[in-house]
Each structure stands twice: as structure tokens, then as C-alpha cells.
């Protein structure tokens, strides 16, 4: 447990309001100018079961859900016992330590006791003074938790008013209840010792799916087609809710096949459109993905991974779809795969993906995972300026127009239906420069070869513009930890832990998954050990790296449905290093 950060966890059953309580707490910290990172542990159940929500906050960057626990808000007995038990079994979450406080209703009795500081608050009693709504208890608990840290109550009051604002009186009931909780705790129990600095910085608290939606909107998105599937639903819901504001048409289709074919139709017609799903829905989209590559229609697909295989663990995270996305659809065709490492990058890469897709007239898949899509982070003010690049476009009535003209860079000028004099056919069958099919009356092996090379040349062109692969504390690193996508935060924090122990560990962070930047080989060469960290069973990126580069690697995987915890990860890395 660190002095300069705080971790609060709210535990209860599905339907108990765990997540909304967590979000109120998160917002109090972000409004206090602090960095926030949240974690949502929930089940595929609508009511009941056990879920919890964790908020980590600090004046310095917090890049993962973190280790440790300071304040537990236990909304039921099960939650209390589960999180105070040193043998907690939740994928790596820390139990409440001795110094931690456990806020719970005073009426709670008969629970199994562990060595922590129990701080009962008459949550129900206080709540009842204001309303019969049992959820008001949560607000009292939130107040108590804020009291334990002596956060500025006015900020909490503001957050509550914004949250319950539309409900007038209800907002004030909540504020009052929170205040009582705050005061009760402050008067009765000791303040938790922390050295937290508030500030006046504007921090934007945003979830992954929201950042992707916002990024897409700033990137000129006008249509989104989807079919609900956790964890791809968050972008869908966000865009649906902001449809009018952002001018984005959002449609739930009859299935994922329709969604992707619609997105292709819209892009073909000249309108930026996206689709998205999780692995199972993405399976159904793969046929059309290859078509987009063949007809050279721009397309961005948001692929939000969850723990598989098959239906798997619908509310759990994993990076298990890489092989699927790489291999998606029959035959070879050009495509780009991006895996943003954090929420800010997700915002940027989503609109960048729209540009790449249109400039190269090919599919771009944005791979996120449940962890990235659903957790909240604070980011600084997003840059709203963005240049939309429509790529090569044909002139109206251009003479001798060839939709698929063979060219140096593999890219040919698009014509949009409605443009005069450029009528042509876009075909999923193999075709020549004009779009005429070369597989009907006479197959032409030569033209076929040229067309194949024309399309694949785009990959070479694109390879030249891949940004350098970022590194972390790598300059003098003897050991390199390679990660991709959302595990960035946990890996960097694990590296920090090891650095403090004096180990020369650095990181290589891959966010351009396909094609891979050739600089990776150089950046890894000459190191004592290369350790690939992945949130999946088989080490899918590892396989990819080895197929591309002559490197020897070791592998750390996690496939229990939860994301990495820095401390535990640092120990695994240390073990790999040790086994020299």
C-alpha cells in the first residue's frame, strides 16, 4: 500500500448499485484533479451473485487497477467476508490489509472476522431517514468512505447532485445522507493516513467504449451498425445515446453479418461507418471482412475481446482473439490490426483507424478487450482537432477510369456512387483494374497475379508509415518485457517495481499488431531475455513475433478472466529473469 494513492473497493451483489457507487467515488477524485483508474469485477448475471468495483486514485498517474486496498465498502455480508479474507480468490485482487478499513452497515453481524479494521456505520438507519429506496444506503457508505479520507465534501455533494440532478429532491436526500455518513465516520473513526494531493487540473473521466465512440465521432463517423455483445456493447450504447448530439446514425441489426455488410455498404457509398462486436459476433463477420479487403472498401471494426473460447466468460477479460483476427477470412488480403494500450490511445487510434481505412481502402480492426472497453480512466483534455483524410478520390468524368488501377503504392482512386462518369462494378470475385471479373469466361492467371499483388502492395506501403514501437525504460534494459494492448499499465507498473529492486527491466509496447513494425527486432536484440506477457492461454502475440522475427522469448500468461496485477506480475517476471 502506497501513501500517495488510494484504493477503494465497493462489493455487493449484481443489482445492488455497486457500479454506480463506484462511479460516484471515481468522479469525486477526478473532480479533485486527481488521476483515476477503475476496475469492474462482475458476473454474467443480472441480479445476485457477487461483484465489486474498485477505484484507484492518486495525484500521479495510476496505470492499472493497482495492488492493495485501503477502504472496503461491503454492501452485504458475502462481500465483507470475501474481501477481508486473506485468501481472496478473485483473480489476483488484494484482500483488505490490517491497516485497511471496512465500511459496512452496523446491523451486519455474524460474519467471519479477519484481522482488519471494521468500521460499521448505520447505513440503513441513516438512509431510512430520507427515503425508503434501499439504494440510498450506498450513498451513506460513499459519504463514510469520503470521510475516511477527508475528501472535500462539497465536491462529493456536487457529484451527487449531477448524478441525481434530474430527480430534484432525490439529489438533496442523497447529499444529506452522504453528509451524515461522512460525519459519522469522521467523528467515530480515524482518518486513513494518505498523502494525496488534489489539484485544479481538468481531468476527464471516461470509459474505453466511450473514448472509442468519442474518437470515432471526432474522426468523422456518421454511421454505426452493431448487435449487442459484451464488451462491445459499451460503444454501441454510447453512440446510441449520443446519436443526436454527434449526428451519428446508430442501428441495431438483426445479426452481426448484417451489421458488417451494412457498414461496408455505407462506406462504399462514401460515408464513414463502423461496426463492432466481441469474438463470437466477430466470427460471423469474418466472411465480409475479407470481402472489404477484396473490393477495397474502407472499414473499421471494433473487436472487443472477452474470455473465450465460445461464449466463455461473457463479463471477463482476455486477449484471446488475436489468432482469430489475424486469420479472419479465407485467402490473403490486406488489413491492419491496431491494439490501443490505454483509453487515451483508444480515443486517438479509433479516428486514426478511420483515416487509415479510407486512405488504404481496406479493413482496420481495432482490438480492445473487456478490461479496456469497460474500465474508466482519467485523461487530459482530448484534442478535438483532427484532419479527416479521404484518400485518393477519382475526379468526376475522369477519362478511362480504372477503379483498381495498378499503382506504385497499391492504392487506386475511389469513385463514389453518384459521381458522374465513373460507373463501375466492385466485385468480391477476382477482377482486373477496371473491376471486371477475371474468373468467369476466361480466368487470366497473369491478371490474377497482378491484382493480388496490387492489393498486397498496400501492406508494404502501410508498413512504411507504422509509428515506431514505443518502449518503456528500455535504454539500459537487460530484460525486455513485451506486451500488447491493454496490459500496458500493469506491465509498466510491474517494471517500476522491478526497477526499484534494481533490476534492469524495460518494456516494449506493441500497439500496431499487423503488420508488425520491423523495429521490434532491433529493439529487442542484444537483451539478456525477452519476456512476452499476455492475457491469454497460448501466447498468441508470442507466436506472431516468432513467426516474424528470429527471437527467443519466454512467456507469461494469465487466463483466469482477470487482468494482470502489477505486483504479482513483477514476481513472475522476476522468476523468469532468475531462471537465467
Amino acid at each position: 500500500m502506497k501513501n500517495d494513492e488510494v484504493i477503494i473497493r465497493v462489493g455487493g451483489a449484481a443489482g445492488d448499485g455497486v457500479q454506480s457507487a463506484g462511479l460516484i467515488l471515481a468522479r469525486v477524485f477526478s473532480r479533485s484533479g486527481m488521476h483515476v483508474n477503475t476496475y469492474n469485477y462482475y458476473q454474467s448475471i443480472i441480479r445476485g451473485g457477487q461483484s465489486w468495483y474498485q477505484i484507484r486514485a492518486s495525484h500521479r498517474e495510476v496505470r492499472s487497477q493497482g495492488d492493495g486496498l485501503d477502504v472496503l465498502i461491503a454492501l452485504n455480508k458475502d462481500a465483507l467476508e470475501r474481501h477481508t479474507n486473506p485468501k481472496i480468490n478473485e483473480g489476483g485482487a488484494s484482500p483488505l490489509p490490517k491497516e485497511g478499513v471496512a465500511i459496512m452497515d452496523s446491523s451486519m453481524t455474524g460474519y467471519k472476522e479477519f484481522d482488519v479494521d471494521y468500521t460499521p456505520v448505520p447505513l440503513g438507519e441513516i438512509a431510512l431517514k430520507y427515503s425508503k429506496n434501499t439504494l440510498l444506503k450506498n450513498t451513506v457508505a460513499i459519504g463514510a468512505a469520503m470521510g475516511s479520507l477527508q475528501m472535500n465534501f462539497d465536491i462529493l455533494a456536487d457529484v451527487i447532485r449531477d448524478q441525481f440532478g434530474k430527480k430534484g429532491d432525490i439529489a438533496e436526500q442523497n447529499v444529506k445522507a452522504a453528509k451524515e455518513g461522512y460525519d459519522y465516520y469522521s467523528q467515530k473513526y480515524k482518518k486513513i493516513k494518505k498523502d494525496l494531493k488534489v489539484s485544479n487540473e481538468k481531468r476527464y473521466l471516461i470509459a474505453g467504449g466511450e473514448a472509442a465512440g468519442l474518437g470515432a465521432a471526432t474522426g468523422g463517423l456518421k454511421m454505426y451498425f452493431g448487435y449487442p455483445m459484451t464488451p462491445a456493447s459499451s460503444i454501441l450504447h454510447f453512440l446510441a445515446e449520443h446519436s443526436t448530439q454527434y449526428g451519428v446514425f446508430v442501428k441495431i441489426t438483426e445479426d452481426e453479418i448484417s451489421a458488417i455488410n451494412m457498414a461496408i455498404g455505407a462506406n462504399y457509398a462514401g460515408v464513414r461507418a463502423m461496426t463492432g462486436s466481441s469474438g463470437g459476433g466477430f466470427s460471423l463477420m469474418t466472411e465480409a471482412l475479407g470481402m472489404a479487403g477484396m473490393v477495397e472498401v474502407p472499414l473499421v471494426v471494433y473487436e472487443a475481446q472477452r474470455a473465450g473460447p465460445s461464449t466463455g466468460l461473457p463479463t471477463k477479460t482476455e486477449q484471446g482473439d488475436l489468432m482469430q483476427v489475424i486469420g479472419a477470412s479465407q485467402g490473403d488480403y490486406p488489413k491492419v490490426i491496431l491494439a490501443p494500450r490505454n483509453i487515451e490511445e483508444l480515443f486517438h487510434l479509433t479516428r486514426e483507424a478511420l483515416n487509415i481505412a479510407e486512405r488504404y481502402q481496406m479493413p482496420v480492426i481495432l482490438m480492445v478487450d473487456l478490461y479496456l472497453a469497460e474500465h474508466y480512466e482519467t485523461i487530459s483534455k482530448p484534442d478535438l482537432e483532427f484532419k479527416i483524410d479521404h484518400g485518393k478520390r477519382a475526379q468526376d468524368n475522369q477519362k478511362d477510369y480504372r477503379r483498381y488501377a495498378y499503382s506504385e503504392d497499391g492504392i487506386s482512386a475511389r469513385a463514389i456512387p453518384g459521381q458522374p462518369g465513373l460507373m463501375h462494378n466492385e466485385d468480391s470475385d477476382e477482377h482486373n483494374e477496371f473491376g471486371d471479373v477475371v474468373s468467369d469466361a476466361e480466368t487470366d492467371p497473369t491478371l490474377r497475379t497482378l491484382s493480388m499483388e496490387k492489393r498486397m502492395k498496400k501492406m508494404e506501403t502501410y508498413a512504411k508509415e507504422i509509428p515506431p514501437t514505443p518502449t518503456y525504460r528500455a535504454d539500459d534494459a537487460e530484460y525486455m518485457v513485451v506486451q500488447w494492448g491493454s496490459t500496458q499499465g500493469a506491465v509498466e507498473e510491474a517494471i517500476d517495481i522491478l526497477r526499484e529492486k534494481g533490476l534492469k527491466v524495460g518494456g516494449l509496447e506493441i500497439f500496431h499488431i499487423h503488420p508488425l513494425n520491423r523495429d521490434i527486432e532491433k529493439k529487442l536484440s542484444g537483451r539478456k531475455k525477452i519476456i512476452v506477457v499476455e492475457n491469454n492461454f497460448s501466447g498468441q502475440l508470442n507466436r506472431l513475433l516468432k513467426s516474424e522475427f528470429s527471437i527467443k522469448t519466454e512467456l507469461i500468461t494469465k487466463y483466469d478472466g482477470e487482468s494482470f496485477y502489477p505486483e504479482a506480475l513483477s514476481k513472475e517476471i522476476e522468476k523468469k529473469i532468475g531462471g537465467n
Binding site: T244, G418, V437
Partner: protein
């Protein structure tokens, strides 16, 4: 003035001589030209099958996509750019097997596209298996002992799905076929036209003669009578009606959705996201 010559594609159709699809190619070209629609403003989206090769042979914008998936492509094109005349053209395998689901839901949504099916009761391009409209007992490569599946009734299906224009035509009657296609395109909403289109190579049962001796033209039927239309759809024996079975004025999906109603997304600038939009994250 637009003429049929403007619609002539540079690739010669490679259907078998006598194939029903030739009639639809001419009819569509003729109707578009006669309606004064410029080739640049027409899009034909198709699936995969002999019929679906159509966009290769006509001088419009063409999208020759995937087997069974022309409907979502066509729908989104229309939503993106309402100024276009969007025609979906495909086979009975394409639309009534692989694409059943899309057909149903697009009809229900009443999207303003015209969907023409070249209904030849077989899979042509894959060399003659029984299609969903193949008659019971029909012997094909996939049903060497005779088809044992009840044929799907496309008109009945379209009516049940909520299509607001439901018609049948026959490749052997070019003028009537044109008429149907014209009415279909003119209709605002989802128009479905099932065309008896003989496959001279793989379907010896459902020949031109077979249909010619059976079809009769609907005249003065009450097009607004849904139950009447259902009844007509059942006539598949010695007398088979061709013509418009049903037509209804109804709001389209596009009319309901505020983002696309009266807007051409392809022309409209993206909404500029400003700081105000960001306030909710603070």
C-alpha cells in the same frame, strides 16, 4: 436524355444462351433509362449466383458482394445516400436460403429499396442443386432421390415480413416485367419482385413453356387487401398470377430516423465535436 444505350455495360453477359437473366438485364436497363434516372444515380447490389453477376454487365454503380448478403449492403447504401436508386438483384438461393433473415428484417423495416429475385428454382452457378423454391420431388445433384422439402413461397414470405410492395413477374414477358420493375422502383418503401426466370441448363421442369402456360396477369385486384394478396400468393398450380399482389403506403425506416430523414449523410459534414460535448466527462 437518358437512353438504354447509356446502361449498356462493356462486359458481355456470360449467362447461358436463353437464360432468364437476360430479360431482367434488359428490363432494368430500359426502366431506369425510361424513368430518366442517370446511370450514375443507380446502384445495383447483388449476392453470388448466376443472377448476381448482373452488375458486371450494366453500366451503373455495381456492388457484387457475398452470397446472401445483398440486402444489408443495399439498405446501408440507401441510408447513406437517399438520392440513389438502389436495386438489389440476386437468386432464390441467395435470398431465400442464405439471406432469408436479411430479407425478412429489411422488409419489416420498409427500407426504400427494390429487391428483385431471379427465381429459377435451382442453384444455377453451383451447377444445379435444389433451391428453396424447388418443387417437391425435383431431382438434382443435392436431391438425387427427389426433393423432400416443401418449397418456400416468396410472395407469402414477403407479405408476412411486411413488404409494402409485393409483385411477381416472368422473364418470358418482357413488357410486364418492365412494368413491375418500374412500379417497384417508383414505390416508396420496400419493393419485392419475384421473377420466374428459367434456368435453361439445370431446370428442365420450370421452363419458359411451363410458366407461359400457367401465368396470368392480375387486373383490378385490390392491391390494398392483404388477405387477398395472401390468397393470390397461394395460387401456384395451373394458374399462377403475375403482377402486383399488394401495395401499401407506409412510412419508411428512413422517415422515422431523425439522423437520416431528409438528409444525405454522404453530403452532410460530420458534426464538429466541441468542448461542450466533453462536459459530461468532467
Amino acid at each position: 436524355m437518358v437512353t438504354i444505350a447509356d446502361y449498356k455495360g462493356k462486359v458481355k453477359p456470360d449467362w447461358c444462351p436463353g437464360c432468364g437473366n437476360f430479360a431482367q438485364l434488359s428490363a432494368i436497363s430500359m426502366v431506369l433509362a425510361n424513368m430518366g434516372i442517370e446511370p450514375k444515380d443507380a446502384v445495383i447490389a447483388s449476392g453470388i449466383g448466376c443472377s448476381s453477376n448482373m452488375p458486371e454487365f450494366i453500366n451503373t454503380y455495381g456492388f457484387h458482394g457475398l452470397h446472401g448478403r445483398l440486402i444489408p449492403v443495399a439498405s446501408a447504401i440507401k441510408w447513406a445516400n437517399p438520392k440513389l436508386t438502389v436495386i438489389g438483384y440476386g437468386g432464390d438461393g441467395d435470398g431465400f436460403f442464405e439471406g432469408t433473415q436479411h430479407f425478412y428484417h429489411a422488409a419489416k423495416r420498409n427500407i426504400d429499396i427494390t429487391y428483385i429475385v431471379s427465381d429459377n428454382q435451382v442453384f444455377g452457378l453451383t451447377t444445379g442443386q435444389a433451391s428453396p423454391t424447388a418443387a417437391m420431388g425435383m431431382k438434382t445433384k443435392s436431391t438425387p432421390n427427389g426433393n423432400i422439402e416443401k418449397p418456400l413461397n416468396p410472395l407469402d414470405f414477403a407479405l408476412a415480413a411486411g413488404a409494402t410492395f409485393v409483385a411477381r413477374a416472368f422473364s418470358g414477358d418482357a413488357k410486364h416485367l418492365q412494368e413491375m420493375i418500374k412500379l417497384g422502383i417508383q414505390h416508396k418503401g420496400f419493393s419485392f419482385i419475384d421473377v420466374f426466370s428459367p434456368c435453361v441448363t439445370y431446370n428442365k421442369n420450370n421452363s419458359y413453356d411451363y410458366f407461359r402456360s400457367r401465368v396470368y396477369k392480375l387486373e383490378n385486384n385490390d392491391k390494398s387487401d392483404l388477405l387477398g394478396a395472401y390468397k393470390l400468393a397461394q395460387e401456384l398450380g395451373d394458374k399462377i398470377p403475375i403482377g402486383v399482389l399488394y401495395q401499401k403506403d407506409e412510412k419508411t425506416y428512413e422517415d422515422y430516423d431523425p439522423i437520416i430523414a431528409n438528409t444525405s449523410l454522404v453530403e452532410r459534414e460530420p458534426v464538429k465535436i466541441t468542448e461542450e460535448h466533453l462536459a459530461e466527462f468532467l
